[in-house]
Amino acid sequence: MTAYLVKRLIAGLATLVAASIVVFGVLEVVPGDPARLMLGMNASAETVQVLRDQMGLDQPLAVRYLDWASGMLALDFGKSYTYSVPVLELVSERLVVSLPLALIALALSTLIAIPVGIFSAARRGQTADTISMGAAQIGVAVPNFWFALLLIYVFAVWLRLVPAGGFPGWESGFWPALKSLLLPAIALALPQAAILARVTRSAMLDVMSEDYIRTARAKGMPRRHVLWRHALRNAMIPVVTIMGLQFTFLLAGTIIIENVFYLPGLGRLIFQAITQRDLIVVESVVMLLVAAVVLVNFLVDLSYAAIDPRLRARQ
């Protein structure tokens, strides 16, 4: 068990290091002088050179990489070129929106998908299965911004239950802030739930044809009982894998929904930073996302070990 976890942990750290080298390297070779960019086209060569010295841009590559990497370890991401505020501040402002949004969306998607997937698998080929998988098909096919518009129309414009957009900030109180995240979370969750429901259903069907399910039935366990006690846990490995992928997508891949609901999230930050060539912000957000992916994958690996005793090596 410990050997397995240590191995996973080392693999995760190695991924982080490799990613940081790639991110640093790519931004190093793209054209454009950050100092020139910050000062504008009219700045004199001397002014640019002074700033370059200040920023340490003329130092050898390895030194700059180590500076940058060790800064990140101390949570010092540097200053944004365009906003001249610490990147950390910028990112954490956005993270307090994006992280809760992603978590709520993932929770919703899981709560919808797993019961629907199990229900469909248990009634394979029957009307209930056809209907729910048809609905899932629609959920996969329809883009989430369309759901978003529909939700805004029904719940914000028509029923006036929640605001149509914007984020009041957590300092305005827990409920108002949460309420403004609800519709975007639902819009994000529905397509993810559709995918997850299909994965759950097919994983359950695979497991239901295993020999040990027949053994459990031969013990006299009713079908439902066998489904919950024997099949579910075995079917969870592919489901957890997909959930991990979905969470990392939800964290940063939500720019369209952020725009529809006018939310100050991570997706919009990275989009702005790219268009403004604010490379230090791009670097930092990308590294943050890599770290999130590594962390989520580690959690997924942990849950594999929790699900399947064969992965917990015997001492």
Partner: protein
């Protein structure tokens, strides 16, 4: 009044008839053997009694168990019967247990469900039944997971689940087919004892006539979903008056006609002295000293295959980041040689190292130490490119005729596959010519070339794998359990084919098997392997008739023998 009465049972799955008018009765304490080849409806009969049939199955007729009309019973009623009054043991112990639950949970689950006793009480009963099937709690605590047990131990757990509540009827569907003969004998003994202790009725399903004869008071022989013959075991099998019974019995004792090579494996006396039980390693063979004249037109004395002091270690399992357990020695200092055209059996229990040895001979695995020479040329440590000429001379036939073909490739492509090891690549027309010849040699039609594997039966597929193996005209074919997945009548045909190719083409065989009947039928010489070592070797008949080493004795005494079993039954049943 019988415990189980099946009358005129017919079963269709969709529009396909599976069973036709099956009649079968089973009394308390009685053992009934249900025999037949694959597809004969044995398992479907059992699943009908359990009502665990596929959804599309429709049964008609009458099945009564202990006063319950099974075909009309509700699902609730069946849930009460299953696991309580009727227990079932399945064929594949490796997959029959839930991998994420402990053996304790899996055994006690049924006990708690049926008896509603407390958790502690159920665990106590679980410990008792696991102890009874040979897994004492001291060595096998309830917290063990299935993957921590071997195949034989897992099958004991499955038996414990089935017998936990002393069922009136135990159904065992090929319970030992996936196990080696020694384990088979142990599991059969256990079943026999449990049946006797609790006056259980046992419905034993098997394709193996010898196993059924040893176990069953009465047998029912099925074919294509119909009962061919039923009655007391001894008279049915001694008289063999029904043509199908006779056919089955003959096929299971079939020995192909062949002229065995007169000389033994290592060019000395028939039985190398001092090998036996002792762990003294056999001196490397000196084929040049072979006194016997070469056979089948092989005009030189160079051995076909020469294996010297071969050893293979596998690294031990990782204990922590920096520590590993001691390596496992899978093959331990093995030496032997084979002459052209010779047929040699390598027998041993599962896990004894025979497949590892075969993989090294085929240069699919690298030995830790030792050397292998094929036709005088060293194979060990050579890069793949230099092995090409050798690969042409040695081919392989695997056990599973279903898993060893890519289902999307045509027969022409599959059978022609080994041709890439030839130095000169044949043209398209030549390729087809070669494939046609190989197909013809194994008794298939050249016109089968355009077909795909799913269009062939299991026996035909094994012919295809043999065609694939002989297309390069190899001098040696390594066959890893090539007939153990086949029905007896098909097995007899494939053994004939092997014998015929050996005679006609002079191909030497290394037959890897745990089935001594196969070894006896098709090989001149035998090597008995145990824990990585060859512990006994000699002429097949002599070794199997009079084994010296413990390992060989265990194998021989565990192997069911139809003739012996019938004789014993006749004595008992008069």
């Amino acid at each position: 009044m019988s415990l189980l009465e099946i009358e005129n049972l017919s079963l269709n799955i969709g529009s396909t008839p599976i069973l036709k008018d099956i009649d079968l009765t089973l009394a308390q304490g009685e053992v009934m053997g249900l025999v037949g080849e694959s597809g004969s409806g044995k398992s479907m009969t059992a699943l009908t009694v359990m009502q665990l049939l596929p959804d599309a199955a429709k049964a008609s007729g009458k099945v009564r168990f202990d006063g319950t009309d099974i075909l009309r019973a509700s699902e609730d009623q069946m849930c009460r019967l299953r696991g309580d009054d009727i227990g079932m043991v399945f064929q594949e112990p490796m997959t029959a247990l839930n991998p994420v639950k402990t053996i304790g949970e899996q055994v006690s689950e049924g006990i708690r469900w049926h008896t509603r006793v407390s958790r502690a009480e159920a665990e106590e009963r679980t410990r008792r039944i696991l102890g009874r099937v040979g897994l004492p709690a001291a060595k096998f605590p309830l917290s063990r997971y299935p993957h921590e047990l071997s195949g034989g131990q897992r099958q004991r757990v499955v038996i414990a689940i089935a017998c936990a509540l002393n069922p009136k009827l135990l159904i065992a569907d090929e319970p030992t087919t996936a196990l080696d003969v020694v384990l088979q004998a142990q599991i059969l003994d256990l079943l026999r004892d449990l049946v006797a202790e609790n006056r259980m009725a046992l419905l034993l399903i098997s394709h193996d006539l010898a196993v059924v004869t040893e176990m069953a008071d009465r047998i029912t022989i099925l074919r294509h979903g119909e009962v061919m013959e039923a009655g007391e075991t001894a008279p049915i099998l001694s008289a063999q008056s029904h043509p199908y019974t006779r056919q089955l019995a003959r096929a299971s004792m079939h020995v192909p006609a062949r002229h065995p090579l007169p000389s033994p494996l290592w060019g000395g006396s028939a039985r190398s002295a001092g090998v036996g039980v002792s762990s003294v390693s056999v001196p490397p063979p000196r084929p040049t000293l072979s006194t016997d004249p070469p056979h089948k037109g092989e005009g030189n004395a160079v051995p076909l295959l020469c294996v010297e002091n071969l050893t293979r270690d596998y690294p031990g399992r990782r204990l922590s980041l920096f520590r590993r357990a001691a390596p496992t020695r899978a093959v331990d200092d093995v030496s032997f040689s084979m002459r052209p055209g010779q047929s040699v059996a390598l027998v041993g229990r599962s896990g004894c190292g025979k497949s590892t040895l075969a993989r090294m001979i085929l240069a699919l695995d690298r030995p830790t130490s030792g050397a292998i020479h094929l036709l005088g040329k060293e194979l060990t440590g050579k890069p793949e490119a230099e092995l090409k000429p050798a690969r042409r001379n040695m081919q392989v036939v695997f056990q599973d005729p279903y898993g060893s073909f890519d289902p999307r490739h045509s027969v022409e492509r599959l059978v022609a596959e080994p041709l890439h090891v030839l130095e000169k690549q044949p043209s398209g027309a030549e390729r087809r010519e070669l494939v046609a010849r190989a197909l013809h040699e194994v008794g298939l039609q050249p016109s089968d070339m355009g077909k795909y594997p799913h269009e062939f039966s299991g026996g035909q597929r094994q012919r295809l794998s043999i065609a694939r193996a002989i297309i390069t005209r190899p001098r040696l074919v390594v066959a890893d359990e090539p007939v153990s997945a086949l029905d007896v009548s098909i097995r007899a045909q494939i053994l004939d084919l092997f014998a015929d190719l050996n005679q006609r083409l002079g191909i030497a065989y290394l037959f890897i098997t745990h089935d001594l009947t196969v070894a006896r039928a098709i090989t001149d010489d035998v090597m008995v392997m145990h824990e990585g070592r060859i512990v006994e070797r000699g002429r097949t008949g002599e070794v199997l008739d009079n084994p010296q080493s413990e390992a060989a004795k265990a194998l021989v005494s565990a192997t069911p023998d139809l003739r012996r079993a019938i004789a014993r039954r006749l004595q008992e049943q008069g």
